[in-house]
Amino acid sequence: MGRYLLKRLIQAPIVLFLIVTCSFVLVRLAPGGPFDAERKVPPEVEAALNEQYHLDESIPMQYGRFLLDLAQGDLGPAIKYPGRSVNAIIADRLPPTLLLGGYALALAVLIGVTVGVIGARLYNTVFDHASMVFALLGISIPMFVVGPLLLLAFQTQWRLVSPPGEYGPSFAYLSLAALCLAAPFAARIARLCRAGMLEVVNQDFARTARAKGVPEWRIVTVHCLRGALTPVVSFLGPAVASVLTGSLVVESIFLLKGLGWEFVFSAINRDYTLVIGTVIVYSSLLIIANLIVDLCYGLLDPRVRYD
């Protein structure tokens, strides 16, 4: 376990470095630059701006400069927003995204596992069928449909939540956003959990427990759930990635500030420095999430070995 962790910890920065290098080159190869606009920028101004951001240098030169700055923890100035650094933008936008993503993941696991377990226990009943229909809907209906519907119902029609105003979003409003983001993940988790549960609930160890007179609720929650959760945990790794990128859609619909928005729009704006900054943050989060997931396998399933 210790050796495995060490190996993974050494791998992580190498993976990150490769991702960042590829992004650095790719974003510069994309057509158009940060100063292309509907109204043509005079050539002398474009030259001055390129010089200011060192975009007049060759890509290897720019890359060397970038690595030097990065070594000092400096991601450079944001090109689209003069006077602001990429570090400052990330520091400002990351916490709301993490909050929303964490909240949504927690909701997804909570709802998904509960529905999945109950569905498996009440196999082939009305509850089971209804919950699976809802799960299918949750998976198939995209967030950009669910989000506006939730807003229309709770904000415009019933006036139960108010849009973020002078003092930022209320807890209720944030919950609505998190629910929207969580819905497809909750649905998948419910299906995975139900399937996993059905698989283990009749296995020998469960039967033995039953024969020993262990109460049914204890068999389900203590003995079976561990096995049933393994597919859920494998799903959570990539789900973290989808929640983080999905947060763009939810942030946009719910008018919330977050890094998801910057991640996508920095690429669209060809804001080279901000693109790299957000790529570093997102890939680090992903690498960490995958590592945690891999470690969780061992905790959930005693058969998993790390060597």
């Binding site: 100035p77 400002d92 596992v113 415009t156 973020p164 919950s175 946009s252």
Partner: protein, 537 residues
């Protein structure tokens, strides 16, 4: 481990708790909304909230380009002149009066004796000179520096020449003299443009590009920046040192930076914002029925560019045939459907100028013209319309493609591209036909017609006509308004004869405004001046 599994049992009540929390908290929030919406309080708080459409890039007047920034800068700064919020007539701003010589090229501005920065320090003629020279310094990277090219020697300075040759002279602290390249009747209006506004010396020297943050910015407009919470809100409050402070009625302005028009529309309906200046394309029918909905003329042109450097579009007859096959009335009635005005000329109508008629819808004429071209052995199999991928642009492109297919029997592909690729293709003439639009900077046709000068960066069609360029330069030396208008008409006719573009419609201002918002006028340039705005009880 067992304990961990026990937690699973708590899942059900927890979910219920969560959902009840959702509605529980919601109840209180709903109450707040209701009270702001009905305005049952005796006097309405003078707090104007609007959606600004995006996070501004700059609040630096010398460098600003996008409308979200310009909309706020117009509240935070003031030029030598300012504009009437309704008519856009130039009014005294920092200058209380001005003189002009007989040739119409030398202007002398007399600044107000009480002209002040928002920190109370005096604002002088030299502040203007310094600010304008800063814009003209190429190292500043001011994208709209060309707005100042009207000033003698400005263009040369911007391209690396000397500052001393620029026609700006400080006579004394309150007198500024400006020499122009030619008589420009729109100069007073242009002086109110953000690029001509003064910027403070000290904050820029101390903070560089970061000088426009709430704690460092110094302005001279009717309002000052109280808070800038990035991507959340920008708050303005009255500037106590503004010369017209007594007539300012708003106590607070909140500008929200939201881009999702659908959600912003819901926000408007819930009463949380008082004004939105864009409406969701998918809900046009519903929005049009809303009593708060308004439309107004806009100084902007929507048109298609032809790439005049590639076959078959290098043949003017092909460009004309394609133009004649566009049924603009159908487009504005059925596709855009917000009251846009079909246009056959590039320049929209203005107070001083009625554009001449270009080629209208004439399917028979178009067929005949194209048959003529085809009879010479030219084959026109497929053409491609390029547009930046947005719903409205796509719908228009598809409708036009259908018209060309049906009328002219040519295969048309409509291709959407991501914004920067689209810009790049347009810039490098790597297209056949491309969707375009242009918003005027001032109420004079020159702001439109100068785009099609041979070497202008905004031409982007490869169309060149030396006689057009010469006539364009000559028009700038005419002082008499009637003669000038005649010269513009002639220029526009020449442009339309060359047909590097197919004009489609004159755009409109549209939005939703709460009935209690007063003094917020829809002018032709969609400029916001909050100094006249107040909220009625």
């Amino acid at each position: 481990m067992n304990r961990g599994m026990h937690t699973a049992l708590w899942l059900v009540p927890l979910i219920l708790l969560c959902l009840s929390g959702l509605t529980g908290c919601g109840g209180t929030a709903g109450d707040t909304t209701a009270s702001t919406d009905t305005g049952s309080a005796p006097a309405r708080e003078q707090h104007f909230i609007f959606n600004n459409g995006a996070e501004p890039e700059y609040l630096d007047p010398g460098k600003a380009t996008g409308s979200p920034g310009i909309r706020l800068i117009n509240q935070l700064f003031e030029g030598l002149t300012t504009l009437d919020p309704k008519t856009l007539e130039p009014l005294p701003g920092m200058a209380e009066r001005w003189d002009i010589d007989e040739a119409g090229t030398t202007w002398t501005f007399h600044l107000r004796a009480n002209a002040k920065w928002s920190d109370g320090s005096p604002l002088t003629a030299d502040d203007f000179r310094r600010s304008w020279l800063r814009v003209l310094n190429p190292a500043t990277g001011a994208k709209y520096a060309t707005q100042l090219y009207l000033i003698e020697g400005a263009e040369a300075r911007h391209q690396g020449g000397s500052e001393d040759a620029v026609g700006i002279t400080v006579i004394d602290d309150h007198t500024l003299q400006v020499r122009l390249r030619g008589p420009a009747p729109y100069f007073l209006e242009l002086l109110a443009f953000t690029t001509y506004m003064p910027v403070p010396a000290e904050p820029i020297a101390a903070h560089g590009d970061a000088w426009t943050q709430a704690d460092t910015i110094i302005g001279n407009g009717p309002f000052v920046l109280a808070e800038w919470a990035e991507r959340e809100r920008i708050v303005l409050v009255p500037n106590e040192h503004y010369h017209g402070r007594d007539s300012i009625r708003l106590e607070r302005i909140t500008a929200l930076p939201h881009e999702n028009i659908e959600s912003v529309y819901q926000q408007y309906l819930s009463g949380a914002v008082h004004w939105i200046n864009s409406v969701p394309a998918s809900k046009i029918a519903e929005v049009k029925r809303h009593p708060d909905f308004y439309t107004a003329p806009f100084l902007a042109s929507y048109y298609y560019r032809f790439n005049c450097t590639v076959a078959p579009f290098n043949d003017v007859r092909v460009r004309r045939a394609l133009t004649m096959a566009i049924d603009r009335q159908y487009l504005v009635d059925n596709v855009t459907a917000l009251g846009e005005i079909p246009a056959t000329a590039f320049t929209p109508p203005m107070a001083q100028y009625q554009p001449p008629n270009g080629l209208g819808y004439d399917p028979e004429g178009a067929k005949k013209l194209l048959a003529e071209v085809r009879s010479e052995g030219v084959t026109i199999d497929t053409v491609e319309i390029l547009f930046n991928d947005r719903d409205t642009h796509r719908k228009i492109a598809e409708a036009i493609a259908q018209m060309w297919r049906e009328t002219l029997g040519i295969e048309v592909a409509a291709r959407g591209a991501e914004w920067k690729s689209y810009m790049k293709s347009m810039d490098q003439l790597d297209y056949q036909i491309v969707r375009s639009s242009w918003v005027g900077d001032y109420s004079d046709p020159y702001t439109f017609l100068s785009c099609f000068r041979t070497d202008d960066g905004n031409n982007r069609t490869g169309w060149t006509d030396p006689a057009y360029d010469t006539a364009l330069d000559a028009s700038q030396l005419i002082q008499d308004p009637a003669k000038r208008a005649a010269a513009y008409t002639e220029l526009e006719q020449r442009l339309l004869a060359g047909q590097p573009i197919a004009p489609i419609y004159v755009a409109i201002n549209k939005g939703l405004k709460k009935p209690f918002v007063r003094g917020l006028h829809q002018n032709i340039r969609d400029l916001l001046y909050c100094r006249s705005v107040y909220l009625e009880d």
